[in-house]
């Protein structure tokens, strides 16, 4: 059992959850993840660590509500217990002095990339941040990033920013205007893919933190397998950080849809059966 210290919605669909996990805090490093279960029956959800606090003995994750289990997770409140919180899992992100590093993120990835950007800054790099959001009201932690970034860019289709392009176009502009040694990208698979494709012709090292379907998170089940270069790798134990230019993206896109119909069935069942029955029961 782990206790929820805080859970709040940052922006539409994106929630932040702070969990008391003193043992995990002692060991976690940027780029690693934990696995949570919102209740005994739900799925195991792998979530990147977005922050941690040694004094409070707590870890923080940022997640997107995108299915039954994350729906359940988003309904938890401070003081609630969750049955499973394991970690830290996966290899930490590579942190050293690269020179100038661009962190390009969107969606839940804005939270997930934060500890990496912070560590890179501490390691003496010049850190630039590029955040993608459909609209101004979807951007969060702007102040945190501005504090650790030398430059902060936004790509959006919102008239608010006077910019109407998706991240790769803005990324190319940034790369043109600045000498960048390394790009790190976290966000939805399509965002990471487009960022990798944008840097490929320029031969800039690009690392992505992948999010395949995962079950146990310790290399046993192989659900998170993906092709990187010539070899098959497991995102849980070999990653989640991989060279974006070597990833077999088509396979990853394909595998992510494996359980799409079942995921929908599960969500519909929860919304149309479990929830109403619970409401009826509460009345009676």
């Amino acid at each position: 059992m782990a206790k929820i210290i805080d859970r709040k919605r940052l922006v539409p669909n994106i929630h932040m959850i702070e969990i008391s996990a003193p043992d995990i805090v002692k060991r976690c490093k940027p780029g690693q993840f934990v696995i949570l279960m919102p209740d005994e029956k739900g799925e195991r959800i792998p979530l990147s660590l977005a922050d941690w606090d040694e004094k409070r003995g707590s870890i923080t994750c940022v997640f997107m509500v995108v299915g039954t289990s994350t729906q359940k997770l988003s309904r938890l409140r401070s003081g609630d217990d969750i049955p499973v919180c394991v970690g830290p899992l996966g290899k930490p992100a590579e942190i050293s002095k690269f020179g100038t590093v661009l962190c390009a993120a969107g969606c839940y990835g804005i939270g997930a990339i934060y500890p990496i950007a912070r560590a890179l800054k501490q390691a003496g790099n010049t850190v630039m941040t590029l955040v993608d959001a459909k609209a101004n009201y979807l951007i969060y932690w702007e102040d945190r990033f501005k504090e650790i970034s030398d430059k902060y860019f936004v790509s959006s289709r919102d008239g608010f920013f006077d910019c109407k392009d998706y991240i790769p176009k803005v990324l190319k502009d940034v790369l043109k205007d600045n000498k960048i040694d390394r790009v790190i990208s976290i966000g939805c698979t399509y965002l990471m893919y487009t960022c990798s494709e944008a840097t490929r012709p320029l031969n800039i090292d690009t690392y992505v933190h992948l999010n395949p379907i995962m079950v146990d998170g310790t290399g046993m089940c192989g659900a998170c397998r993906l092709k990187v270069g010539d070899s098959t790798q497991f995102a849980c134990v070999d990653g989640p950080e991989f060279d974006g230019h070597l990833v077999d993206w088509n396979e990853l896109f394909y595998r992510r849809k494996s359980y799409f119909n079942d995921e929908i069935r599960s969500l519909c069942y929860w919304e149309r059966e479990e929830k109403p029955r619970k409401m009826t029961k509460e009345k009676r």
């Binding site: 539409p12 669909n13 008239g159 109407k164 149309r272 009826t280």
Partner: protein, 841 residues
């Protein structure tokens, strides 16, 4: 008249708006608030056009064309204006995906994140691909929104059944508000707040469940965006195929379109072009049917009882078994129960089977609480003949509507829409019944009658009419003198006391009925016991003659009129399902073949029980053989709606498992029992025979009527009046301190064969539960009860259980519960009797 649009000369005869005329001639004018069937609103301002001689720009949706009018729809300043307006609309609607070049790639690669909680872009929106906003943006050619986008951040409302409401996507076109108010007569949702904060909502922000929503889904169907989305299909792709059919769940016979994606059945929508429901439906057809026909509780294989357990068998085995057993019994030892939820073909074959093969007279032919059966029986008994069929349009043309019986929104939602049209034209509505109902707010007179005394109220009205006009004009008519004498024998004071209605109210009502040109008496289903129902039907006929009103007796189940018409042509000897049930209880039968939901009594003495149903139910516990039947949506049979309109079902779905249409099962059984093989191979063969043998079905043919072609049951055109003397009623048992409340049963409509909608669908249970015991809030306080408490109702005759539901429509001192004939016969005895209510399961 001639109108010039964009240089094109267009000829038109009828009065129509510029927008309508342009659409008819394939001239595109964008619009988001206009919707067929709704009054012009001019809310979105996208349909602005330039009309020569008119100042500025005019909304084409609300300006009617005139002869010689010159309209320009596509000048550069109009295009620019539209883009500006659209940009402003989009500042409050997630617009990123609408203008993003990556949209198609995202649709492909981000498909899995469609399951998000809140919609912040088209790729996440349930309406993606069917959104009118997307079409308009494309047509107007908008590429950029220059203004900052604003998120209203209104919590998505997901706790109501059937659909979600996300007002962050709402563009305030007002279609939902208008359809709810103008077409459905409910006004559950309306514009709330003012200025920049204007939104659509319920009063005090309550849930739809608490706001009186009937969940007809009309608002969902008109919403141009993803603001209102059906839960069951919101994550599915838009349909790639549609099939026409008719809803079998009630007597309205709404035309529906079944939607499919890659052959997966998604659900049903009301068909826009239908003469019956013209784009409207109700909760049953719109939301429940989908789950009913594909229920987990469908019976997929024939079952035979072996070693006291039902085991799967082949059709051959099951039919052999059943036929061998049937052969052992004499005709009078066997009974057949059919259901008005079967198709005409099924009912015909069932009747033929009972008559020719089993040679039994024990088959149910009367329906409980059905106005249609009651009025037609009363007519036959007394030699009366008058038109019993009608068109819904006849109701919308009435000047005065006298509505007797239960809540029309629940029992006959589409009839209610016709009444509403009449009210729009200035008609008066009078409601008479023991319950309040949501339609009462439109009533110019509400007559709250003591339960069970309906026939006295109608006699009261007749008496007032007669005393007012002297009655000379009727004196020569058949039966009048006797009728008059029976009325004269009852003093007004007694009528006032027994009905609980003052003479002034009754006189005013009588005045309205008599003086209005076209008055109509709608007789809606209610359950007040056989005798009282018959008396009410007779009294209604008298009133109709005196006030020169037309009678609209409604039918109850999906194919009630068809069932009634076929039954009558077979034999006059009629039994109701309750009578058969009582005979079973007395142990009169040794074998029973049922195709209707039946609560088999304990110690029934039955040696053989054959259950033919689509769903598993309690009657399976005692069944010896179970024969899986198709639901009507899987057959190509025909059903007759409340108007008398014969409609084809057209089997949009494939049959599930080994289920077969009912007529086919009966035919096969008949072939095994005697030499009487009916020789049908398709439903068309049966229709051919029906057209030949049943005079009322003369107009049907082997192929089903196409939509648009109207085929009705044949009806006697003769008009024969006869007054029926008033039958005195038995006194009702009085309430006592020990039994302080009066129980009144309400007809339950939410079932299809053995499937109870509220048990099958969890969301339906929230909306309307079969287990509800409805009572007034003051009574709940008096007996220290709360919403949802499990309770037992006890009378001297028996008891049953349920859950408290507080209803503003139930008067103090009364409790109501649902009753489904055949299924709830245990409750029937308790009807109208004093009861006490106790807490506990």
């Amino acid at each position: 008249m001639r109108v010039n649009i964009d240089g094109r000369e267009i000829e038109t005869k009828h009065k129509k708006t510029i927008l309508e005329l342009a659409r008819e001639n394939d001239i595109y004018i964008p619009s988001l608030c206009d919707f067929k069937g709704l009054e012009p609103f001019s809310g979105c301002r996208l349909c602005l056009v330039k009309v020569e001689g008119m100042k500025g720009y005019v909304p084409s949706c609300s300006v009617f064309v005139k002869d010689g009018m010159k309209v320009k729809t596509k000048t550069s300043d109009i295009q620019k204006l539209r883009k500006n307006i659209l940009e402003l609309i989009l500042t409050e609607h997630p617009n990123a995906c609408l203008i993003c070049e990556e949209k198609e790639n995202c649709d492909e690669h981000k498909a899995t994140i469609r399951k998000v909680d809140e919609v912040t872009g088209c790729v996440l929106c349930p309406n993606n691909g069917r959104c009118e906003l997307q079409n308009v943006v494309r047509e107007v050619g908008l590429e950029k929104v220059r203004f900052p986008s604003f998120y209203r951040d209104i919590k998505v409302k997901k706790d109501d059944p059937f659909f979600d409401r996300n007002y962050n996507l709402c563009i305030l076109c007002g279609r939902c508000v208008r359809v709810c108010r103008d077409i459905r007569g409910l006004s559950v949702i309306t514009f709330v707040k003012r200025g920049a904060k204007t939104a659509v909502g319920t009063s005090f922000g309550r849930s739809l469940l608490d706001s009186g929503c009937q969940f007809c889904g009309a608002c969902v169907d008109v919403c141009p965006t993803g603001a209102l989305t059906e839960k069951a299909v919101k994550y599915d792709s838009p349909p790639d195929k549609k099939k026409d059919t008719v809803c079998p769940l009630c007597s309205m016979g709404c035309s529906l379109e079944f939607n499919f994606f890659k052959d997966k059945f998604l659900g049903a929508n009301p068909a826009g072009s239908s003469p019956v429901n013209s784009g409207q439906a109700c909760v049953r057809g719109r939301f429940a049917l989908r789950d009913v026909v594909r229920s987990e509780n469908r019976i997929r294989k024939p079952l035979i009882r072996k070693n006291n357990q039902l085991e799967e068998a082949t059709w051959e085995e099951a039919l052999d078994y059943a036929s061998e057993k049937i052969k052992k019994y004499k005709p009078d030892e066997m009974a057949v129960v059919t259901s008005p939820q079967l198709s005409c073909e099924d009912i015909f074959v069932f009747n033929k089977f009972a008559e020719k093969v089993l040679k039994t007279k024990h088959i149910n032919k009367k329906a409980e609480g059905s106005p249609l059966s009651l009025v037609s029986d009363a007519c036959r008994k007394n030699g009366i003949s008058l038109p019993m069929q009608f068109k819904l349009d006849d109701i919308s043309e009435l000047d005065a509507v006298f509505l007797m019986g239960g809540n029309l929104m629940e029992s006959a939602p589409i009839v209610w829409l016709s009444v509403l049209k009449a009210l729009d034209r200035g008609a008066d509505l009078i409601t008479a019944g023991f319950l309040e109902s949501p339609v009462d707010r439109y009533a110019s007179k509400k007559l709250r009658v003591t339960p069970g005394m309906e026939s006295y109220l109608l006699a009261f009205l007749s008496k007032c009419i007669l005393d007012d006009c002297g009655g000379k004009e009727f004196a020569a008519e058949k039966g009048f003198d006797e009728f008059r004498r029976s009325l004269d024998g009852i003093p007004y004071k007694y009528l006032e006391e027994s009905t609980g209605i003052s003479i002034e109210a009754v006189k005013q009502t009588a005045d309205i009925l008599r003086k209005r040109d076209k008055s109509g008496l709608i007789f809606a289903p209610q359950v007040i016991g056989r005798e009282r129902e018959e008396a009410a039907a007779e009294a209604l006929l008298n009133l109709a003659f005196l006030s020169d009103s037309r009678i609209f007796p409604l039918s109850v189940e999906g194919n009630h009129r068809g069932w009634d018409a076929i039954n009558k042509d077979f034999s006059e000897k009629t039994k109701s399902i309750s009578e058969i049930w009582n005979s079973i209880k007395k142990g009169q039968y040794k074998a029973l073949y049922t195709a209707a939901p039946l609560d088999i009594p304990e110690d029934d003495g039955l040696e053989l029980l054959i259950v033919q149903d689509s769903f598993t139910g309690d009657d399976l516990d005692k069944a010896d053989v179970v024969l899986p039947a198709c639901v009507l949506s899987e057959t190509d049979g025909s059903i007759v709606n409340t108007e008398g309109r014969i409609q084809g079902l057209r089997g949009p779905l494939d049959s599930l498992g080994d289920a077969k249409p009912d007529w086919e099962i009966v035919t096969k059984l008949a072939g095994r029992i005697g030499s009487k093989d009916f020789g049908y191979t398709t439903a068309g063969d049966i229709r051919k025979e029906m057209a030949r043998k049943l005079p009322r079905f003369k107009d049907i043919s082997q192929t089903l009527p196409k939509r648009g072609k109207e085929v009705f049951l044949k009806e006697d055109n003769e008009y024969r009046k006869k007054y029926i003397p008033l039958n005195p009623l038995n006194e009702l048992e009085k309430e006592t301190p020990q039994y302080p409340l009066r129980l009144v049963l309400e007809h339950g409509f939410d079932y299809y064969r053995n499937c109870l909608l509220s048990e099958e669908i969890a969301e339906f249970d929230l909306f309307r539960s079969k287990q509800w015991i409805k009572m007034n809030k003051r009574d709940t306080q008096k007996y220290e009860l709360k919403e949802g408490f499990p309770v037992t109702l006890k009378s001297k005759k028996g008891q049953f259980k349920g859950f408290v539901h507080i209803s503003e429509y139930v008067p103090e001192g009364i409790v109501t519960a649902y009753y489904i004939p055949g299924r709830d016969e245990n409750r029937a005895d308790l009807n109208l009797s004093p009861v006490k209510i106790t807490r506990g399961k």
